[in-house]
């Protein structure tokens, strides 16, 4: 009887090992205990067309509506929880030659993990000074809408430091700890419900 039991145990162990190796059984992903959130595309359309890939200054990308007009489209701070604790987003001061707003993303302890500038948008006057990035699902904060025309563009009597040739959302990222999605390229469209731009990790 004992020998039969041992054999059964050995067979079960072998089957489980093979299943794990073959990827049939779910393996708990080894996330760090620290907070991880993704900054997503801010343009509120189903699919965003990248009219200019990551470009200077810093890490910036230009986005348009892949399925219609871009002017007047809402722009959100959209973040997605991946693991760990909540984070806090702040409406940050912004020095810019164009029209836009910057959000700063911090840990609950106050360490800055990254900043995102949302440019060429008619900024809402009702953005709270800070908001909680929940430890589950998505957190969405309204920032404004894509402006047309950009009043600071040279063609509108503005300045040469504000490059603008048509309605788009320019989203630039500064990352202290984390990574930028280098897989996005100009001329392609991406689903805003799943495409991340920056992975924040403390």
């Amino acid at each position: 009887m004992r020998r039969i039991s041992r054999r059964i145990t050995a067979v079960v162990a072998a089957v489980v090992s093979l299943a794990l190796l073959a990827g049939f059984l779910p393996v708990t992903r080894a996330y760090a205990s620290t907070a991880q959130h993704d900054i997503m595309i801010g343009l509120a359309v189903a699919n965003a067309y990248v009219s200019q890939g990551w470009h200077s200054p810093g890490q910036s990308i230009d986005l348009q509506n892949a399925g219609g007009s871009t002017a007047g489209v809402s722009v959100y701070s959209q973040t997605k929880w991946i693991s760990g604790d909540a984070m806090v987003a702040y409406k940050a001061s912004y020095i810019s030659d164009c029209t836009g707003i910057k959000a700063e993303y911090k840990t609950g302890g106050g360490a800055t993990l990254g900043r995102t500038a949302y440019v060429h948008i008619n900024v809402s006057g009702s953005i709270p000074s800070s908001w909680n990035m929940a430890a589950s699902g998505w957190t969405v904060e309204y920032l404004g809408s894509v402006i047309n025309p950009e009043p600071n563009a040279p063609g509108q009597g503005g300045n040469d430091n504000c490059a603008w040739t048509g309605p788009h959302e320019h989203q630039s990222e500064e990352v202290a700890t984390g990574s930028v999605n280098s897989g996005l390229s100009a001329g392609n469209s991406y689903a805003t419900g799943s495409t991340w731009l920056v992975h924040l990790s403390d």
């Binding site: 509120a44 359309v45 189903a46 200077s56 200054p57 810093g58 809402s74 959100y76 959209q78 702040y90 409406k91 940050a92 001061s93 912004y94 020095i95 030659d97 707003i101 700063e104 911090k106 106050g110 360490a111 800055t112 900043r115 008619n122 900024v123 809402s124 006057g125 009702s126 953005i127 709270p128 000074s129 800070s130 908001w131 909680n132 929940a134 589950s136 699902g137 998505w138 957190t139 969405v140 904060e141 309204y142 404004g144 809408s145 009043p151 600071n152 009597g157 503005g158 300045n159 040469d160 430091n161 490059a163 500064e174 202290a176 689903a191 805003t192 419900g193 799943s194």
Partner: protein, 240 residues
């Protein structure tokens, strides 16, 4: 508790009621006149998000409108409330030198440009990188601490239009942007709310040269506004 005469109590109560009514009226007029944008409702935002394929838990932030501000002119600066859609005084180009110039992410090239100003920053910080949208018109830099975290950023630029627009907001009615003078030059200081542990900044317009200087602190645990002003002064003294 000291008791007030009934007529004084009545006067105070009336004053409070009038103030409250005026505040409500100002907000209503501001919204009705379309001076500020109308943010979507939480229901609209959720519907919008689901339509875009966002699944699972969704936390929608409800904006808190603050329509108490109006545009204000301070020297060369025009304070514009965020979200303001009403009229503004006209902006006009100025004949500032420095037309053209290429954008650059090359720190060495930016440091060699005529508009670059060396900044003296506190011990423990070092220049991480510099960049420019136009080497003849602006130079920007970021200083980081030993761990590589951004602490100080600077800007030197030739503003092309007047007035110089400053987007302002309040923290529940508390002013965060202030017009001031530093060493006789018009300047603006700003901060994010104390509980936000956010940013502090100062910008100054040097009228003789047409150059604007700005310093922004992103780590305010160790540095304060006087530190930002000292860094800005070091840039003013560097070359001018």
């Amino acid at each position: 508790m000291r008791l007030l005469p009934r007529n004084r109590l009545r006067t105070r109560a009336t004053a409070v009621l009038i103030a409250a009514a005026l505040a409500v009226l100002a907000t209503t007029i501001g919204q009705a006149a379309g001076l500020f944008d109308t943010p979507p409702t939480p229901e609209q935002m959720e519907h919008d998000a689901r339509a875009r394929g966002i699944e699972g838990t969704l936390h929608v932030i409800t904006p808190v409108p603050d329509h108490s501000l109006a545009p204000e002119r301070h020297g060369p600066y025009l304070f514009v409330p965020l979200g303001w859609h009403g009229d503004l005084e006209p902006f006009g180009p100025v004949g500032t030198p420095g037309a053209g110039g290429e954008a650059s992410n090359d720190t060495g090239a930016v440091e060699s440009s005529a508009i670059w100003r060396n900044a003296r920053v506190p011990v423990g910080l070092h220049l991480d990188h510099a960049w420019s949208e136009s080497l003849s018109r602006d130079a920007r830099s970021e200083f980081v601490d030993r761990d590589g975290h951004p602490v100080v950023s600077t800007t030197v630029r030739l503003p092309q239009i007047r007035p110089i627009r400053v987007d302002v907001w309040t923290d529940g009615g508390t002013r965060l942007f202030e017009y001031t003078e530093i060493d006789g030059h018009p300047a603006v200081t700003w901060r994010t709310p104390a509980d936000a542990k956010g940013e502090i900044g100062v910008r100054l317009f040097h009228e003789q040269s047409g150059i604007e200087y700005a310093v922004q602190l992103s780590d305010t645990r160790t540095l304060t506004l006087p530190d930002a002003i000292e860094i800005l002064r070091s840039m003013l003294d560097a070359k001018n």
